[in-house]
């Protein structure tokens, strides 16, 4: 049974892979045609093969691994810091209604400011290198995670809180054994959104004087007019971002399964 597939199943599998592949294929084809059209010089628009060769060069020298490692280290440090702080504060603000009313205007004021607007201050206050990059990624991740956590806590089913009180739970137990797990699926959605936002600002953060990382690689390639390297770096940023998104989506699905909730929508915004 398992070895022999019905024609219908084969068609479905083809459909599943061919349709998404067609988009990528079209782009690659258009890229190839455009780069060999002679309208642009190879320095302006290298073809897919040249970009792959540049990538092979980076891999061979071990440079790629070093840059990816540096980026991931910064990213994970900033993201973990942002997620940890945002969830902790979100729990506190969501649970203490008056405290949130005091903090809310402040959050609403700072939140719409793009992390990029903080560039000059980040450099003034933190110098150049790792610290400003981490600060920028932190800012990008912190607010979505904080706001979804506050909303999640405030939206915990009052029936569950009633029941917890009925069984004589102390406040500490209500928060840790009811509010936290009840809010967790929503918090996970927030952390997913925050992850995407943080990765987007990684490159920006690494342009603030970092000497390593994918953002630095982009800047470095630009300075040496190595468009092939630049495009390869862009490709890597996209691929790693995609992988991170898939990884957290898988974690999210497991949480939803354990909680008995319907699977979350496929993609976070």
């Amino acid at each position: 049974m398992s070895g022999a597939r019905s024609p219908g199943a084969v068609a479905r599998t083809l459909d599943r892979w061919l349709v998404p592949a067609s988009g990528v294929g079209t782009l690659l084809g258009a890229w190839q045609v455009a780069s060999s059209s002679g309208h642009w010089t190879p320095e302006q628009l290298p073809g897919p093969a040249a970009v792959l060769r540049a990538g092979a060069e980076l891999v061979a020298t071990g440079t790629l691994a070093a840059h990816v490692g540096a980026s991931l280290a910064r990213f994970l440090a900033a993201y973990a810091l942002a997620a940890g702080l945002a969830v902790t504060l979100g729990l506190l603000f969501g649970w203490r209604e008056r405290l949130w009313r005091a903090v809310d205007p402040l959050v609403q004021l700072i939140r719409p400011v793009s992390p990029i607007a903080w560039f000059p201050l980040a450099v003034l206050w933190l110098g150049i290198g790792d610290a400003p990059a981490i600060a920028i990624i932190f800012l990008a991740a912190f607010f979505p995670a904080l706001l979804t956590t506050v909303a999640a806590v405030r939206r915990v089913d009052p029936l569950l809180l009633r029941i917890a009180r009925n069984f004589g739970s102390r406040e500490r137990d209500i928060v840790l054994k009811v509010v936290v797990p009840a809010a967790f699926p929503q918090v996970a959605v927030g952390l997913h959104i925050a992850l995407g936002a943080a990765w987007v600002y990684l490159v920006a953060g690494e342009m603030l004087g970092a000497r390593s990382g994918l953002g630095f690689l982009v800047m470095d390639a630009r300075n040496f007019l190595r468009t092939d390297l630049l495009l390869f770096a862009v490709l890597m940023i996209g691929l790693i971002g995609l992988a991170l998104d898939k990884a957290i989506a898988a974690v999210e699905r497991r949480i939803y399964l354990a909680w008995g909730l319907p699977p979350a929508r496929e993609e976070a915004p």
Binding site: L159, R162, F167, K177, W259, G260, L261
Partner: protein, 259 residues
């Protein structure tokens, strides 16, 4: 066994709103004895759920006193556990974890609470589902787990707010029978709000028929039918008819007289 468990003395409950004050309960005097099974029936708006909330300690009376074991109710307490129509199981905990919850937050050691929880699950006939999660179970099973969770903390009273209201008719009948059996075994004081008249006649020692505007206890009917009760006996039917009369619903039942 005739000790008074729950007492309401001249209880009044008003809800204030910008449009004025609504009297949900007016001049309710009531004593419920230990081990008694009391059902509250009445039209919506008669204050039956408000009455339950006062006994549970989820709400305070506007006037009068609500006492459990002679002590004024000051808030929710473990010895008066409420079952809700929506079950309220913790979805992230498995069945056993749900039943253990009350013992866990009162500091009962792991081994002991597991033992008690398994006994209670056994009592509701769901030991085989200890490791399942609530979402894997039917509504009827979830309510039985909620009952096991309540029994686990060995409360004096169990309050039920339309506990089987969300279930289909056959499941409801099965659960009523199970509840009657468990009540005979454990002899908890039970106060059950229901809109199902047959349920009240099947389960209750006393039926409190309530009326609205303002919410009040209109009639108290003693149910002296032998247990286990047969829903098809003439006495059962007569009493059911009596409740319908008290609720002034008989005129809607003309077809009953036809052949």
């Amino acid at each position: 066994m005739s000790q008074v468990r729950i007492a309401l003395r001249s209880v009044e409950k008003r809800f204030e709103s910008p449009r004025g004050s609504v009297t949900a309960l007016s001049a309710v005097d009531l004593e419920i004895r230990d081990g008694e099974f009391v059902c509250l029936v009445g039209p919506s708006g008669c204050g039956k759920s408000s009455l339950l909330d006062l006994v549970a300690g989820f709400d305070e009376p506007s006037a009068g006193a609500v006492e459990v074991d002679g002590v004024a109710v000051a808030g929710p307490q473990r010895k008066v556990v409420t079952l809700f129509q929506a079950y309220g199981l913790f979805p992230w905990r498995n069945v056993l974890g749900n039943v253990e919850y009350g013992l866990e937050v009162s500091g009962v050691p792991r081994r002991e609470r597991r033992e008690v929880a398994l006994q209670c699950l056994d009592l509701v006939g769901l030991s085989a589902f200890a490791r399942h999660h609530p979402h894997e179970l039917s509504g009827g099973m979830q309510q039985r787990i909620a009952l096991a969770r309540a029994l686990a903390v060995d409360p004096e009273c169990i309050l039920m707010d339309e506990p089987f209201g969300a279930l289909d008719a056959i499941t409801r009948i099965k659960l009523q029978e199970e509840l009657a059996r468990i009540w005979e075994q454990r002899r908890k004081t039970i106060v059950c709000v229901t809109h199902d008249i047959e349920e009240a006649v099947f389960l209750a020692d006393r039926i409190l028929v309530m009326a609205s505007n303002p919410g009040r206890v209109k009639t108290v009917l003693d149910v002296r039918l032998p247990r286990p009760r047969s829903r098809t006996s003439a006495d059962f039917d007569a009493l059911r008819r009596r409740v319908y009369e008290e609720l002034e619903l008989v005129h809607e039942l003309q077809p009953d007289y036809a052949i």
